[in-house]
């Protein structure tokens, strides 16, 4: 019986009488030698021993010789007592309700003790108190909060929101998202991950045929100001021409195009990358070389990027922002009101209600936080350099960025936004605090605005967003979109009629040349205008009131109030640029707005029938586009490394939550690291293999591997540590792409192959001289069925596999023989050892078993270590996972591993399973050299939870 059962039984039987008898140990002397003293009254000596007690303690062991009437009577009385107790007390639960017969029990008694018979009330009350105490111990007594009505009052709600924004930044669309999305706290923000409704396919359809909207305001904007040549000189340290166009590219430098680069730590190329950023130059203004540059970076990069920029530009003087919020009404950051209001309230808890409400009235109402609420107002956001004159400005959350993805995004924009209308003559004559009337006075500015409006008008006539040159920028000033908000949700459709009207030639020019340079200018670049617009936004309430005062209900508000002119920037986002099918899939527009106007633009956009996507749609978007997604696919960047660690711990937690019997046994599947990809180890191993291959000139990669594994350990120790990098050199990538049999996922041949030098051993060797520790980003498309998952293995097919493929194209692929889980017995043994302390006789046996462990197929380093350390490692053994010092990752399975997949899914755009991932360059070239020409580029894919290999075609797209 378990301890709990014994306890239960004891509880149940405690009222039952126990046999009254003398312990049997006194059987020898019996009653022959009675102690006269004890004979008198055995009971007062405590002579009764109940049950089979081993020794009676201080009780008498001898029996009395004779009895008296008194003892006889008291014995009877005691028995009666015991019986009485047994009869009256119920055996069942200790609840008082048990004392009542069933037909008299009522449910209400458990709440209201007065429903109980009076004789049970005391006990019931005591029990209730006890349970209440126990309950209060667990969760602290909640402070009495205000009534719901009070809490929902606007001011109080705002205070509450402001309080909650202090830990994680909220986007302006937070409330909207929080009502519809699963929110996650990521990178210091609260972001919508995925909608609560089912919309995976609708979202894909929106991306490919209509429009998907995302709030990307969490991307951080860093502004750099200074002389053009100095800026370029500083920034050139961070980039390399080999990876593609840099900050100095002529098109982007003119401000007509948005550019994107991968940044490295200063002068460290090709190692230590920071991550990809996009950037936008402000178009030149006549007569000055002073330029303005916005760098848009993912929040995880910002942490590394900002110090790097500061060192590069020698900007270390922090400019303390003005603290007094009166000077800048919409303070760059949070105004101090909420705190000051909080404190008196907190002190006044004891005060009466009326008093408090009087105090509340005197305090100015709390302001809505716009921008970053987590930062304290005194944190510097601007850094200046005295030597170079460069100013770095952190514009995080200062500019709202919405992304519209899909071919119809321009028609959504065209329907939502209208170029700003001119203001009246009367307004022009008098000076105004608003920016737009001032602008209207200037003839040049109005000319520019007219030109921009014309371009915008042409834009409406375009058939698809993808037709525009990638990265086009258009500056514009628009009316408040709330004014034209439709009463019902309508789906924005391209206006074909208008398309015919528009001059054909102009449209062609726009499609080929992009927007002319001067039209890329926008007043969004100017801090003063941004602040002015943000401060003077008409509140929703006022606007609605004005709408209701219109003479004809439902008609358009006119004239539009002067406050409603917003400078915006439209930035074209290129679609799929790599690969040969579905080109320019997923192109779209980015809409940049001054802060505070987020919701004013969001709702009108939503009313044009767009779908809203969360973070997971961003991932799917980049997956379909075939580009690497940050930070998932940047294993060499610090942010990518951090992401991998987080992901591993998350997956491991999820895995551990399952009971061991229900877990996937990854050891049996031959999957060494299902939750992370040991890139470093992979690259090192492949480097070794290639080195061995050079020295021995054996053709079979497998035999080489077997040999090198033995010498694996000591070589890695002596070799200087070099970190794994991702190959981003355009030239090398192009070469590699040419080598891997330029086929598309459907297996069609591409016509232009000739320029690539033929791949042979010497070419591979010379290529590997520089890139031996590199990984390369590849796209794999499955030839038959199968859905790759992330962390699936990319393997090299053997000659037999290729034969199989040649014979029947319908063959699904080879199988991996199931592996044996040697650690299972160890875990079991450990469990046993935990239960009873390990006996010394067991130990030699375990040693024997461990020496048996190294199997023929896997010469792994873990087994060769001494049993002591292995027994040490058993402490963190997890059932189904390989413990930490991994054996050779390349040769663990029957097929040699080249790399892993980082994203994989059934691609709705390609109609087959597609995977994106990294493979080792050395391994890839080695494979290509050994593969026959007709099968070059055919690899195997295997999911971590399956033993089935699938054939896949490799594509390296530049």
């Amino acid at each position: 019986m378990s301890a709990a059962k014994v306890k239960m039984r004891g509880k149940k039987m405690r009222n039952q009488p126990v046999s009254v008898q003398y312990p049997s140990s006194s059987a020898q002397n019996g009653g022959d030698t009675p102690n006269p003293e004890r004979t008198k009254n055995p009971h007062q000596r405590g002579g009764w021993v109940r049950g089979h007690q081993k020794d009676g303690g201080g009780y008498t062991k001898e029996m009395p010789k004779h009895i008296t009437a008194g003892s006889f009577a008291s014995a009877r009385a005691a028995e009666v007592q015991a019986m009485l107790k047994a009869v009256t007390k119920t055996t069942g639960s200790c609840h008082v309700y048990g004392a009542l017969p069933k037909h008299m029990r009522r449910r209400s008694m458990s709440h209201n003790t007065k429903r109980l018979p009076r004789r049970l009330r005391d006990v019931a009350n005591r029990m209730r108190e006890k349970s209440l105490q126990a309950g209060s111990k667990k969760k602290k007594e909640q402070p009495k909060s205000k009534s719901r009505k009070a809490r929902r009052r606007h001011g109080n709600l705002l205070l509450e929101f402001n309080r909650r924004q202090r830990k994680n930044m909220w986007l302006e669309t937070h409330i909207w998202h929080a009502k519809r999305f699963h929110m996650v706290k990521k990178w210091g923000y609260c972001l919508g991950d995925r909608p609560t409704y089912k919309c995976y396919r609708p979202c894909y359809r929106a991306m490919s045929s209509h429009c998907l909207l995302q709030d990307l305001s969490y991307y951080c904007c860093i502004e750099l100001q200074g002389e053009e040549d100095k800026l370029l000189a500083c920034l050139s340290l961070l980039t390399s021409k080999e990876t593609g166009p840099t900050f100095a590219a002529a098109l982007s430098l003119s401000g007509r195009r948005q550019g994107s680069v991968v940044l490295y730590r200063a002068g460290q190329y090709p190692s230590q990358p920071l991550g990809p950023v996009t950037f936008l130059w402000r178009p030149r203004t006549q007569g000055t070389t002073h330029r303005q540059l916005w760098i848009w970076a993912h929040p995880t990069i910002k942490k590394d990027l900002l110090p790097e920029l500061q060192t590069v530009c020698q900007c270390c003087e922090a400019v303390v922002p003005p603290v007094v919020p009166v000077v800048i009404p919409a303070g760059v950051v949070l105004t101090p009101e909420p705190e000051s209001e909080k404190t008196p309230e907190a002190q006044q808890v004891t005060g009466t209600k009326r008093k408090r409400s009087g105090k509340d009235a005197s305090v100015p109402p709390a302001k809505k936080i716009l921008g970053d609420g987590t930062r304290s107002p005194t944190t510097p956001v601007t850094w200046k350099s005295s030597s170079t004159g460069i100013v770095i400005n952190d514009l995080t959350l200062e500019i709202v960025r919405y992304r519209l993805i899909g071919p119809q995004s321009h028609s959504v924009l065209a329907e939502t936004l209208e170029a700003a209308t001119d203001c009246h003559e009367i307004d022009k004559s008098q000076s105004s605090p608003l920016w737009w009337p001032e602008h209207c006075k200037d003839e040049n500015k109005m000319n520019l605005h007219q030109q921009q409006a014309d371009v915008y008008h042409i834009l409406k006539g375009i058939y698809s967003t993808g037709e525009l040159p990638p990265g086009t920028v258009l500056g514009l000033t628009v009316d408040d979109p709330r004014v034209t908000l439709p009463t019902k949700k309508v789906k924005a459709l391209p206006c074909v009629k208008q398309a015919q009207e528009v001059d054909e030639e102009k449209r062609k020019e726009l499609m080929l040349q992009g927007v002319p340079e001067h039209c890329c200018q926008s007043y969004l670049w100017e801090q003063s205008v941004r602040d002015n617009v943000t401060d003077n936004k008409i509140s929703e309430q006022d606007l609605n009131r004005m709408k209701s005062e219109v003479l004809v209900p439902g008609s358009r508000l006119s004239p539009i109030p002067l406050q409603g002119r917003v400078p915006i920037l439209l930035v074209h986002q290129p679609g799929k640029q790599v690969g040969h099918e579905m080109s320019s899939w997923g192109a779209g527009w980015d809409l940049l707005l001054p802060k505070g106007w987020g919701m004013a633009f969001w709702v009108p956009l939503v009313y044009r029938g767009v779908r809203i996507g969360g973070l997971n749609m961003t991932l799917k978007h980049s997956q379909n586009k075939g580009v690497s997604h940050f930070p998932h696919d940047y294993p060499d960047c610090p942010a990518g490394v951090r992401f991998q660690e987080e992901q591993e711990s998350e997956l491991l937690d999820k895995f551990k939550r399952r009971p061991p019997a229900k877990r996937t046994n990854y050891i049996k599947h031959g999957c060494l690291a299902p939750f992370r990809c040991p890139w470093q180890q992979l690259a090192e191993e492949w480097e070794l293999i290639t080195r061995e291959g050079e020295s021995q000139t054996t053709t079979e990669a497998d035999t080489v591997m077997e040999e090198e594994m033995t010498s694996h350990r000591d070589i890695t120790v002596t070799k200087p540590q070099s970190h794994v990098t991702v190959l981003r050199n355009r030239k090398s990538l192009r070469l590699l792409s040419g080598w891997c049999k330029p086929t598309t996922s459907k297996g069609q041949r591409l016509c232009r192959v000739g320029e690539v030098p033929p791949l042979d051993r010497s070419a591979a060797t010379s290529f590997l001289a520089t890139h031996v520790m590199s990984l390369v980003w590849v796209r794999l498309s499955l030839l038959s069925k199968g859905k790759p998952e992330f962390h699936a293995m990319v393997c090299v097919p053997t000659a037999e596999d290729l034969q199989l493929l040649k014979k029947g194209s319908s063959s699904t692929g080879p199988q991996e023989p199931p592996h044996k889980d040697h650690f299972k017995s160890r875990i079991k043994r450990k469990k046993k050892g935990n239960k009873k302390t390990s006996t010394p006789s067991l130990l030699p046996k375990t040693d024997n078993k461990e020496s048996d462990l190294p199997s023929t197929s896997e010469p792994n380093p873990t087994t060769s270590e001494d049993p002591k350390s292995s027994s040490q490692s058993t402490s963190d053994l997890i059932f189904g996972l390989w413990p930490d010092p991994l054996p050779s990752v390349t040769s663990h399975c029957s097929r040699v591993t080249l790399g892993w997949v980082t994203q994989g899914d059934f691609s709705l755009s390609a109609g087959c399973g597609e995977a994106l991932g990294f493979v080792s360059v050395a391994g890839l070239l080695n494979t290509f050299v050994n593969q026959p020409m007709e099968h070059r580029g055919t690899l195997l894919l295997r999911n971590p939870t399956s033993l089935h290999y699938r054939f896949a075609k490799i594509n390296i797209e530049v």
């Binding site: 003398y22 059987a27 020898q28 009577a73 005691a78 007592q81 009485l84």
Partner: protein
């Protein structure tokens, strides 16, 4: 749920020498019953005894025994009880006979009967007292048992949900 039904016999062990009663223990009683049943009914009886037969309670001071017998065969087993003449306990033979006072379907009825019986016994004893000291004692005993949950040391103030049962052992 199907209940395993049994019969409880409330028996009194009558001995000639009352002090020898204290030698008894439950195992000895059980062995004696088993032996008698085997003697009277043979292997069949012994087999019947093997399951469902226990001595639930024995008071060596008063000589009260609760026997639990399976209901199916209790008559057969009961019929063997009169043939018990000695109980061998602690290496000594105690000559005695079992007097069945009550047959109950539950142990509770037996307990109830025992309360009633003991009270009756005490009331009978009271007029036969020889000295006032004795009479005083008996009177107190009667008083104690007549008040349900009366104040006998260490017993009466036992709490319902009190988990420590050690105190119970020290009752008088």
């Amino acid at each position: 749920m199907v209940r395993v039904k049994s019969r409880y016999l409330l028996c009194e062990v009558n001995v000639s020498d009352r002090s020898r009663l204290l030698l008894l223990d439950d195992r000895a009683v059980a062995a004696a019953v088993r032996e008698a049943v085997t003697r009277i009914h043979g292997d069949y009886g012994a087999a019947l005894c093997s399951s469902g037969f226990t001595v639930k309670y024995l008071n060596a001071h008063t000589g009260i025994v609760f026997l639990r017998l399976p209901k199916r065969s209790y008559r057969l087993l009961w019929s063997a009880l009169p043939f018990i003449s000695t109980i061998e306990a602690r290496g000594q033979k105690v000559s005695c006979f079992l007097n069945c006072l009550h047959v109950g379907g539950t142990i509770r009825t037996c307990q109830k009967f025992l309360i009633q019986y003991n009270k009756q016994q005490l009331h009978r004893m009271l007029p036969k007292c020889k000295n006032p000291e004795e009479e005083q004692k008996i009177r107190r005993a009667i008083l104690n048992c007549s008040v349900p949950g009366g104040n006998m040391e260490g017993l009466g103030d036992e709490e319902d949900d009190n988990d420590e049962e050690e105190e119970e052992e020290e009752e008088e």
